[in-house]
Amino acid sequence: MVSLPLRSQHAPEIGGADITFAPPARPSLLGSEAELRVALGGLSGVDAVGANARVAALGTRSLKQGTKRALLDLAISMIDLTTLEGMDTPGKVRSLCTKALRPDPSDPSVPHVAAVCVYPDLVEMARNFLGDAPVAVASVATAFPSGRASLNVKLADVREAVAAGANEIDMVIDRGAFLTGKLGLVYDEIVAVKEACGSAHLKVILETGELVTLDNVRRASWLSMLAGADFIKTSTGKVPVAATPPVVLVMLEAVRDFAEETGVVVGVKAAGGIRSAKDALKYLVLVNETAGSAWLTPDLYRFGASSLLNDLLMQRAKQRDGHYVRSDRFSGD
């Protein structure tokens, strides 16, 4: 276990039914950037070969039919149904919301998804479409996807999204600053954004495809959690390398260790590149075997995806009907 200069906390309570996202007494590093560097430097390096082997071994696990059915439904309920295109229109957001509430109109037993994820200017529209349904509206903010804007602009972006009704904010970290070692800058920015979020949950996008190494993923995960993230998220989906199982493994280990260390339970969101139900189930096995079954809930684990939902619905229909179904049975994006 890594040694961190944290305030001591009560023993972690993981697995209880009433896990809260962020207890008010979140530990924080009130010290300097040097202190932060020491803290993150104390993290052990990631054994990349071991991580790949672990992922590969868990990927071959067979699931019994009943388990598979339950996991398909769980995966559907964990989806942040996402549209993040320059060509998004009100009509697209409306159909996205409709699909979020009732993914398969022909089968009311399909659960609704966790959230819809849109750009800030479409948040109000999405909230209006959804009404007071239990589907959250998540908004990317902070000059998504590059994050290349001044802090004031980023904070204004966040405040507007929250004011428009976003329940969750997906921010991007400043990868340039992180990679040049300006950890304090990254940390302060997350703290500031967290404050701007108010009651909205904060998901911190690490953009692991740009962090290059798994060591960096582990450090960025801890940095984000220390700064107040409610969720850590792999990717924007806008760079070629998005969520990969080893990266998610490292992040799951980070949230597990962070919870043991501090008692604060942080969620993980895998986003980008997850298109098949088979991959989604592999990720859920990874969650269960790494962080534990307590994380198998939409409150603590999410998939950021759009096309994944249809494949989950297809596999679900396959399980139900006993034969493969055609893809155009379900609405496209």
């Binding site: 006993g322 034969h323 493969y324 179904v325 055609r326 893809s327 049975r329």
Partner: protein, 288 residues
């Protein structure tokens, strides 16, 4: 050649999406000729391999349909060229699989090549024969054109491992369909060799997918699969009625071979070309 040299034996693999995977299940089976000779190990496809093949076919079909008829003809003709250049290899395997002498096997390969060329020539003629303008009582120019049905599942004939195989596979391809074919269970090697040939004949990945395995295992999955638009049950034998019933669940086109259809040497006509096309009719205003 010294006798202590290691045998280098080939395992014949599947053709899915332009690649040659072993079965996802890892299973293989031995191909034994009628005289008891061991002919080789081939992959035994599972229903998941079939699912992958259908996904690949569905993805590849629109582009194959959109290719010009001329281009599809060129690709099929290239396939014939490739068989011709390896005719001795084909003849060897046909002779082994079907227990023919060399001369008969060569004749069968020639017939198979000619059959592919025949269908290659048909690609840009289907529209003239099956389509046309229709006389209508109104100010409309009304015409019908044949369009491909989509993804076609073929249960290849069990006896005729090469000629019968290409006779079933080439017509849906010529019409612009993507094909998922289950080879002859006991005589799969010539068809798997043909798969290796198509990979170098500019046939786009996914347009032709070849699976070797048990018809009893793969047939129902193919026939019930909603994303398969038509099935050719030529090689299904006694299972054909059950498979046809399975196919009805998703309202597929079903092609059932007659006894005469199993005589592969005769002129095939256009029956198989017509089996997997749909007619689109366009009403176009004129004189306004």
């Amino acid at each position: 050649m010294s006798s202590d040299r290691l045998d280098v034996r080939k395992t014949y693999k599947l053709l899915i999406n332009g690649a040659f995977p072993r079965s996802e299940s890892g299973r293989t089976y031995e191909v034994i000729a009628a005289n008891g000779a061991f002919l080789g190990n081939v992959a035994r496809a599972s229903r998941k391999d079939l699912r992958e093949a259908v996904v690949a076919a569905r993805a590849a079909q629109p582009k194959w349909q959109a290719a010009t008829a001329y281009n599809r003809g060129q690709v099929l003709y290239r396939m014939a060229e490739m068989i011709e250049s390896r005719r001795d290899e084909f003849a060897f395997h046909v002779a082994q699989s079907e227990q023919h002498n060399d001369r008969d096997a060569q004749l069968i390969v020639s017939a198979a090549i000619d059959r592919v060329v025949w269908y290659a020539g048909w690609t840009d003629k289907i529209a003239q024969v099956l389509g046309g303008t229709n006389p209508v009582a109104g100010p409309f120019f009304n015409f019908s054109i044949p369009t491909p049905t989509g993804v076609i599942g073929v249960i290849a004939p069990q006896e005729s491992s090469l000629l019968g195989f290409v006779s079933c596979v080439a017509p849906p391809l010529a019409a612009g369909n993507a094909v998922v074919v289950v080879s002859s269970t006991t005589r799969p090697i010539p068809s798997l060799l043909l798969g290796e040939v198509t990979a170098t004949a500019d046939v786009p990945g996914g347009v032709l997918n070849i699976l070797s395995g048990e018809v009893a295992e793969l047939g129902p999955v193919l026939a019930q699969h909603e994303d398969v638009d038509g099935v050719d049950l030529t090689g299904a034998g006694d299972l054909a009625p059950t498979l046809a019933a399975d196919a009805s669940g998703s309202i597929k086109r079903v092609f059932r071979a007659t006894t005469a259809d199993h005589d592969w040497a005769v002129d095939p006509g256009t029956r198989r070309l017509r089996a997997f096309v749909e007619t689109s009719t366009v009403w176009h205003t004129v004189g306004q």
